[in-house]
């Protein structure tokens, strides 16, 4: 009987609570921003049927644009070799460092390889590594965060300090340690990025779980004799899923950056396989000689993918928080 039309109690408060724009800031270790936005989502989201979420999502232009760009790069990753104008590996040593032209729209690099073809096919590894790494980080982070939020107390205190210690280290240092230990490979990248994201996601989930733990249904479930695992995963988890979903998409954007950064530093995909980050690394010296197209186009590709993911993340967040 709650009045559907009942307006908010105070008139000046009619401004809708804007969710904090976590996706707006791209710092690698800004865990707090993500946490607050996701908590807002957790608090605001009254169980919406999945169908409603989809319906609201499909109404957003930003979501369509983001999804369109991501889909484009997925198509490129799978079928890129078929429709790229040249083979990304073919070296045309007579046409090195050629500026963009009708033959080579994006120009060629120092080895005479077609930049356009390398951009089209260079999305493959990034699109495999990022989602898998983010999923790994989300699963581990959710388990850790739920436990911290539910148990609280000493466990939360100790785990919380470890998480913070982890967050204090630059991602590159951690990555370097792992890659030295495990050797550079796609699998290593997935594990490294997954582990780096674990504490960030744990922090968000912890905050959301703490809100939920105060709810009476958790007390009620204790009176029904449900154990901690059951309470965490069957009672609390479904209610923090929206927060996790938002966090996942936001982290996906960061993961793209992370992969590109690591391959730029040479920790990731080994040449000559086309890869945006590695290509920027291979060609950035050329910038000094004015060969801007060799770095600009791969950089734009990275940017477009990150922006697309952020547009999707933002749409999901707004829909869930509305």
């Amino acid at each position: 009987m709650s009045g559907l039309l009942q307006p908010p109690v105070e008139p000046s408060g009619a401004l809708p609570a804007e969710p904090a724009g976590s996706a707006g800031s791209l710092g690698m270790t800004t865990g707090y921003l993500g946490a607050t936005a996701a908590t807002a989502v957790a608090a605001a989201s009254r169980a919406k049927p999945t169908a409603t979420v989809w319906r609201l999502l499909l109404r957003r232009t930003a979501f369509w644009v983001g999804a369109g760009i991501v889909l484009f790069w997925i198509v490129c990753a799978i079928f890129g070799h078929a429709f790229a104008p040249y083979s990304p590996l073919t070296q045309q040593l007579l046409f090195t460092n050629a500026a963009p032209s009708s033959a080579h729209w994006f120009g060629t690099d120092g080895l005479g390889r077609d930049v356009l073809s390398r951009v089209i096919t260079g999305s493959r590894d990034i699109l495999i590594i990022t989602p898998l790494a983010t999923i790994l980080g989300t699963i581990l982070g959710t388990i850790l965060g739920l436990a911290m939020g539910y148990f609280g107390g000493v466990f939360d205190l100790i785990a919380g300090r470890i998480v913070e210690a982890f967050l204090a280290l630059p991602i590159v240092i951690i990555a370097f340690l792992f890659i030295v230990a495990l050797g550079p490979s796609t699998g290593t990248l997935i594990i490294v990025i997954g582990l780096v994201f674990t504490p960030l996601i744990a922090r968000t989930v912890r905050a959301a779980a703490q809100v939920e733990r105060q709810q009476d249904y958790v007390a009620a479930s204790r009176l029904f004799g449900e154990g901690p695992v059951r309470v965490m995963f069957s009672e609390i988890l479904p209610n923090v899923v929206p927060a996790i979903l938002v966090e996942f998409t936001v982290r996906l954007g960061y993961a793209i950056f992370a992969v590109a950064t690591l391959s730029f530093l040479g920790f990731g995909i080994t040449p000559p396989t086309p890869d945006w980050g590695a290509d920027i690394y291979a060609n950035y010296i050329g910038l000094l000689s004015g060969y801007w197209w060799q770095t600009l186009f791969p950089a734009l590709a990275i940017a477009s993918l990150v922006i697309a993911v952020i547009l999707i993340a933002d749409s999901i967040e707004q829909v869930l928080a509305s």
Partner: protein, 692 residues
């Protein structure tokens, strides 16, 4: 039957002066998901200068929308789609931005439910109030002096000190006074009070209401008082309008409307409230069948017709106009003359229910001894409570917020661990202080119905999952046995099969609470704690839930610990009553004895603070001051700081009185002997009991 409909503007103002507020045929529309939904339909009323008009209605009736529409504060998806408003001769609906701001600043003031949200948390109270005077052109010094004067007028005893505080440092009652001070600072022509005391405790509410009444005299302010609480409206208002689904159904002098309602909705609403000493073993409450129409649904005919027992074909086709009941009253009902004889929706007779019968067991079911709970090392939420709950009874737990009611319940349930030395036994066996350590057959026996079903029901689970889970966990049921029990429960709380697949968000508040009750009763508990189970519900829904609890107690042989701040409900449902104050038992005894008196001075104050529809009690005793902090309770008797009957001997300040039993089963913690209390309270006892 009076065939002539009333003139569109019926006001009782003395001839000549224009009304302070007149609202004519006001329609308000909200756009929700691209569709226009009518939230107010054809609302017409006026308030004469100096008059106090009450707008009463359940949630979703559009009360607040009226208040917002008057000063054009509607949210961005709402708009006035028809009608006129005139405040002091000005039309807020057509004026420009500047004039509107001026109107809001000078002519109309509003006070809302949550004082904490009306005050800016980062500005000291004094400066916020002074600001109002500065804007009016006073110098800084003058404005500060005026602010202080204003705070004194709202009976804040130490205004200078309060002015230096930040809003969060004030108690709810104090903050609401500050808001009222701000609202009255400019001597507004119209003061709109939207549920101003709903968030406050009974004794504080009484003080604030008295204050508003006194200020109204002093400032000669016109008041629009909006509330869901009929008793508060009856106490505060000259005239009243009953709002239902965006339409005014009945209007007239408050006393006349509440004593002799002439619209079936008003009649039904008043019957939902336990009154005149009604009790669960005398009769059941009446209810209003059906639900509030979904806002914006197209209605042909009378909007109340689908729920009305007097409905005729005519009601379904023709929208009734306002009929004049007498010279000052109107009712929007073709059959307003029959309204007082509205047939009951729920029979008054207590249904013959199987179950119940002498249990044969001896001794109290639950015994709590020396129960103490200290939070954070210094806040004594409970201080040595000894209490027994008898088998099959309802023990009513009464007290203001901070009295320890909820802590007591949580300790019993094992959700809060009490201090060392506290013991709880059930059936003679000690209970572990932590629910997680209690075996399942003990957990089964103690269940709870929480105050807020939104928080108590996991919003991601279906009704079926919610009710089944404890059945599987605690009663060990599965397969067909579980299904049978589930169906049994659903039927006993009067839910339907189709509800099983729904999520809580798809249910109304009343239905949600039924799910919570079914869940609590599922495992077959012996004690069910009801923690304010109806305070989140509307009056008409509350009655049905109370009836349900009374019926279930009979069929399931349950014992209740019933916590409520609403004394009427406690009286209706309880066999015995415990009065808590600052974590201590002040009085305990059989319900009717506690109500009849003589009572503890605190109980006395609590009873006299609560406004009643049964007429004002003579000679109310009033409490002043705030509830002391549990972190720093007063010496001696903890109530002495507010006690109007404090002894001059100084005994109250120095020694804590014991809980002494002067009548069998009736204990009072007071230095004043029972006979003397009886003498003191003779002139002003609670209204006669058992009025039926």
């Amino acid at each position: 039957m009076t065939a002539d409909s009333a003139p569109s503007s019926l006001s009782s103002d003395p001839a000549g002066s224009a009304p302070a507020l007149s609202v004519t045929n006001l329609d308000v529309t909200y756009k929700v998901r691209g569709q226009d939904r009518l939230a107010l339909r054809d609302v017409t009323f006026s308030i004469a200068r100096g008059e106090s008009y009450g707008l009463v209605g359940e949630s979703g009736s559009g009360k607040s929308t009226v208040a917002l529409a008057l000063v054009r504060y509607l949210p961005s998806n709402g708009r006035v789609s028809g009608g006129q408003v005139s405040i002091n001769g000005l039309d807020p609906l057509s004026m420009g931005r500047g004039a509107l701001r001026d109107l809001r600043a000078r002519t109309v003031s509003m006070v809302y439910q949550e004082p904490g949200r009306a005050l800016n948390p980062s500005i000291r109270v004094g400066r916020q109030i002074a600001e109002v005077f500065s804007i009016a052109g006073q110098s800084k010094g003058e404005a500060t002096a005026s602010a202080e004067e204003m705070l004194r007028k709202v009976q804040i005893s130490d205004p200078a000190r309060v002015m230096r505080r930040y809003p969060h440092e004030l108690s709810g009652g104090m903050a609401q006074r500050a808001v009222i001070a701000m609202a009255l600072a400019r001597s507004p022509a119209l003061l709109i009070l939207d549920e101003p005391t709903t968030a406050l405790d009974a004794t504080v509410e009484a003080e604030v209401l008295d204050l508003v009444a006194a200020l109204r005299q002093e400032f000669d302010t016109t008041v629009l008082f909006i509330s869901h609480n009929l008793a508060v409206i009856a106490k505060m208002c000259d005239r009243v309008g009953v709002l239902y689904a965006g339409q005014l159904l009945e209007q007239g002098p408050a006393r006349a409307v509440f004593e002799n309602p002439r619209h079936p909705y008003t009649v039904g609403l008043l019957r939902c409230i336990p009154r005149r000493g009604q009790r669960k073993d005398s009769d059941r409450l009446d209810t209003i069948p059906g639900f509030l129409p979904t806002p914006g649904t197209a209605v042909s005919g009378c909007i109340f017709a689908p729920r009305c027992a007097l409905v005729q074909d005519r009601c379904r086709t023709t929208d009734p106009p306002f009929f004049l009941v007498d010279s000052v009253r109107t009712s929007r009902c073709f059959f307003h003359e029959q309204a007082p004889d509205l047939p009951r929706a729920t029979p008054a007779a207590i249904p013959e229910l199987a179950g119940h019968g002498a249990d044969g067991a001896d001794g109290p079911l639950v015994v709590m001894e020396g129960l103490s709970k200290t939070f954070g090392g210094s806040v004594h939420a409970l201080a040595g409570v000894d209490l027994a709950i008898e088998r099959g009874e309802t023990l009513g737990l009464v007290g203001e917020s901070g009295s320890g009611k909820t802590t007591l319940a949580r300790v019993l349930l094992g959700l809060t661990t009490p201090d060392a030395g506290s013991t709880v036994t059930m059936n003679g066996k000690p209970l572990s202080p932590d629910a997680r350590r209690r075996p399942k057959d003990v957990l089964r026996t103690l269940q709870i119905v929480f105050q807020n079903p939104d928080s108590a029901l996991n919003r991601r689970h279906s009704v079926r999952a919610l009710i089944s889970r404890p059945l599987a966990e605690l009663a060990g049921l599965s397969g067909p046995a579980l299904r049978t029990r589930l169906e049994e429960l659903i039927a006993s709380v009067r839910l339907e099969d189709r509800h099983l697949a729904l999520r809580p968000s798809q249910l109304s508040g009343g239905l949600k609470q039924r799910v919570a009750i079914a869940r609590a009763f599922g495992p077959g508990p012996e004690v069910v704690v009801c923690d304010e189970p109806t305070s989140a519900l509307d009056v008409s829904v509350q009655a049905a839930i109370l009836n349900l609890l009374a019926d279930l107690q009979q069929t399931e042989r349950a014992t209740y610990l019933f916590i409520s701040h609403d004394l009427g409900l406690v009286r209706y449902l309880s066999d015995r009553i415990v009065v808590l104050y600052l974590g201590r038992v002040m009085e305990v005894g059989p319900a009717e004895t506690v109500f009849a008196g003589p009572h503890h001075p605190y109980t006395e104050a609590l009873f006299s603070a609560v406004p009643s529809l049964d007429g004002e009690r003579p000679d109310r005793i009033k409490l002043t001051g705030e509830i002391p902090s549990a972190a720093n309770p007063p010496s001696g008797c903890v109530f002495h700081t507010r006690c109007p009957r404090k002894l001059a001997t100084g005994e109250c300040e120095s020694t804590e009185p014991p809980l002494h039993e002067d009548e069998p089963g009736h204990q009072i913690r007071c230095h004043i002997p029972l006979a003397e209390l009886r003498e003191l309270q003779r002139s002003q006892s609670v209204p006669s009991q058992g009025g039926s």
